[in-house]
């Protein structure tokens, strides 16, 4: 009989080792799947994990990793506070969309302004506000009506998604777009364009914001009373209440924070890499970020690494499709597997595996 026994202290060694173990297991199992599909397994794995970083065209792919990872990290950092405190915002996708709509909407309202000093900062504020407002709905409803924030925030994703469709077809549609849906391209609107700060580095304001968020989160969690309260609320809500931490306030702060960061990510994306408000604007960053947050064990540095790992599988996966003609579905399967293994081995951090019969207490 195999049983799990809770460790008195989470194992430090395992918390570092387990992700590594998961990646290795995924490589082996993934390799088998690729081989079963008649593709060279070693080359496929190398293409996914190695080539984007050190392959022939790494000078192009490394900056792309930043572009792809930044929104994931930014959103995941925001989510991690709530997740630690037991507050479940799974509607980041919706907040991301609202941030983009608010940001782009503001920019287009000023069109064709040349006052970048005014428009761009206002866009950041608007985008952040958009996400914040959208996250405040589940927050306030939980505080005042005791509704479940998981479900309300999830419902609001669909509402935001339909709103995006409506905006791309209606209000924000490009009047010079030959009748096609989609807004003006903000990349061609200098006052609003979230361009690369240094050419070919992938560094745009969103990447800066993501790094800043990681550092700020680290400091908050390890050095600030807020971080302590968050952890306390998650581990023992009763103890937190005794310590004078208002549960309602915690809900609002955590949801607000995650919404604001998701909104900001959406705004940076629509003003930069994406450029347009389109029905196809959102590609699931808000949901993927939830996975990133857990892969990173809700720790800022972990999230940073997890964000890059996810970005790597996206970009490496594209390369493998193109070079080895691996079907896209195989890549999706591979990503799913990686996540499963990462989630599965986490058990080693908090538990010990015991063989033999459990003693009767």
């Amino acid at each position: 009989m195999i049983t799990l026994e809770r460790r008195p202290q989470p194992s430090r060694a395992w918390s570092y080792l387990s992700p590594l173990l998961a990646v290795i297991v995924t490589m082996i199992v993934g390799g088998l799947v690729f081989a079963a599909l008649g593709k060279p397994p070693v080359e496929a794995i190398r293409t996914i994990f190695w080539d984007p970083l050190f392959g022939d065209f790494a000078s192009y792919f490394r900056p792309q990793l930043l572009v792809k990872a930044a929104p994931l990290i930014l959103i995941a950092i925001g989510l991690s506070f709530g997740f630690r405190a037991g507050i479940w915002n799974i509607g980041a996708e919706g907040q991301y969309i609202m941030g983009a709509l608010f940001g782009a909407g503001l920019a287009l309202a000023f069109y064709p302004s040349e006052a970048r000093w005014l428009v761009f900062p206002l866009m950041i504020v608007a985008g952040t506000l958009g996400g914040l407002i959208w996250a405040m709905i589940p927050g306030l409803l939980r505080v005042y009506f005791r509704t479940n924030e998981i479900l309300v925030s999830l419902m609001l994703v669909y509402v935001a998604d339909f709103l995006l469709d409506a905006m791309a077809l209606g209000l924000l549609r490009n009047p010079d777009g030959m009748g096609f849906p989609g807004s003006r391209n903000l990349q061609q609107y200098p006052a609003a364009h979230n361009a690369e700060l240094i050419a070919n580095t992938g560094m745009h304001w969103g990447v800066i914001a993501a790094f800043f968020a990681v550092v700020a989160a680290y400091i908050l969690l390890s050095r600030h009373i807020f971080g302590f309260n968050v952890r306390l609320a998650g581990q023992s809500p009763r103890a937190a209440a005794f310590a004078g931490v208002s549960a309602d306030k915690m809900v609002l702060i955590c949801l607000g924070l995650s919404g604001a960061l998701a909104g900001m990510a959406g705004m940076f994306e629509v003003a930069g890499p994406s450029g347009q408000v389109l029905a196809s604007f959102n590609v699931g960053y808000g949901f993927t970020a939830i996975i990133v947050a857990f892969l990173g064990r809700l720790h800022p540095v972990g999230i940073l690494l997890a964000g890059f790992l996810m970005a790597l599988t996206y970009i490496g996966g594209e390369l493998a499709q193109m070079n080895l003609q691996l079907p896209r579905s195989a890549i999706q399967l591979f990503q799913g597997m990686l996540l499963f293994f990462l989630l599965a081995v986490d058990v080693m951090t908090n538990f010990r595996i015991r063989f033999g019969r459990q003693k009767v207490a």
Partner: protein, 304 residues
């Protein structure tokens, strides 16, 4: 505009068909959530069911076997979820999302060579006498077997949850797993059962899309139906009979907006489409009965 061209009876009949996939999937998820587990991977299990349904029915030439295969496919995927969340104690939200990603990939891979397959016809039950009833006949009694199986399952789940001892235990586990454990119930085992029932139901729902409603296989063809199923469970306040209403509301809005368009009515499609989700939030706020099971989404470990 010509609203008279909409035949309300036919509308009702097609609403029953359009709602069947989401009803089946939602019913499964309802049982899962009643056991205190939140499985966000419904979409992944549905699409896997859709693919398995096509594969099994094409290979065997029998639509019923297709459905059986689909249920099995969904069940296997949910088993994976159960192992991860119940044995390895992974976070349910993250695992569910990963399950959807995995299911989308798996189904596309499995279905690859079945894109041109046409599943065998799934006959409608022409129930004698009943189907000839005026008004009610065409609306209620001229559907295929799965529509009725879906309805029967709703009643069965309602009966199970509210009238049987096993159902009571399952609800107890969902409300407070510590207490249920203290009373000697096998929390993990019960949840395994619930999760796998949910997987099988989601698989059936997916297969209904690929075998009856469309019928063909296309990558990603469930197109978000699994997420709608999650919403319906909430809308229903975790109650099986109200679930039926929820499924008809969500399915009905889709059918209705298509019909209104065809009738030439200028409707803001996006706003109409988002209305059931807004209604769900309102239901959550208004109905005090709509409380989520107490242990929903929380990880349980026995030895503490």
């Amino acid at each position: 505009m010509d609203l008279s061209s909409i035949n309300p009876l036919l509308l009702l009949a097609s609403l029953m068909v359009a709602s069947t996939p989401i009803l089946l999937a939602a019913l499964g998820e309802l049982v899962v959530e009643r056991a205190g587990v939140l499985n966000l991977g419904v979409e992944g299990m549905m699409i896997t069911g859709a693919a398995c349904g096509i594969i099994f029915s094409t290979l065997t030439g029998n639509a019923w076997l297709g459905f059986a295969g689909a249920a099995l496919g969904g069940l296997m995927l949910s088993f994976l979820f159960a192992v991860l969340t119940q044995v390895l104690l992974s976070n349910q939200v993250a695992t569910g999302l990963a399950l959807t990603l995995f299911g989308l990939g798996l189904s596309a891979l499995l279905g690859q060579s079945f894109a041109d397959a046409r599943p065998p016809a799934f006959p409608k039950l022409d129930i004698p006498i009943l189907s000839d009833l005026p008004v009610l006949g065409p609306v209620l009694f001229r559907h295929d077997g799965m529509v009725y199986i879906g309805l029967l399952l709703v009643v069965a789940v309602w009966y199970f949850l509210s009238r049987t001892r096993a159902g009571l235990v399952l609800r107890a586990v969902g409300e407070n797993h510590e207490a249920a454990h203290a009373l000697g119930y096998r929390v993990v085992l019960i949840r395994f059962g619930a999760i796998m029932f949910g997987g099988a139901c989601a698989g059936l729902g997916g297969a209904y899309i690929s075998l009856v409603r469309v019928p063909q296989w296309t990558e990603g063809m469930t197109a978000g139906a699994g997420w709608i199923a999650l919403a319906i469970v909430v809308f229903a306040g975790w109650k099986p009979l109200r679930l039926l209403l929820g499924a008809y509301l969500f399915g009905g809005v889709t059918v209705l907006q298509l019909n209104l368009q065809a009738a030439g009515l200028a409707i803001p499609v996006e706003y109409l489409s988002m209305s059931p989700y807004v209604a769900t939030i309102l239901v959550l706020v208004i109905l005090a009965a709509g409380r989520a099971p107490g242990s929903l989404g929380k990880t349980f470990h026995a030895s503490r």
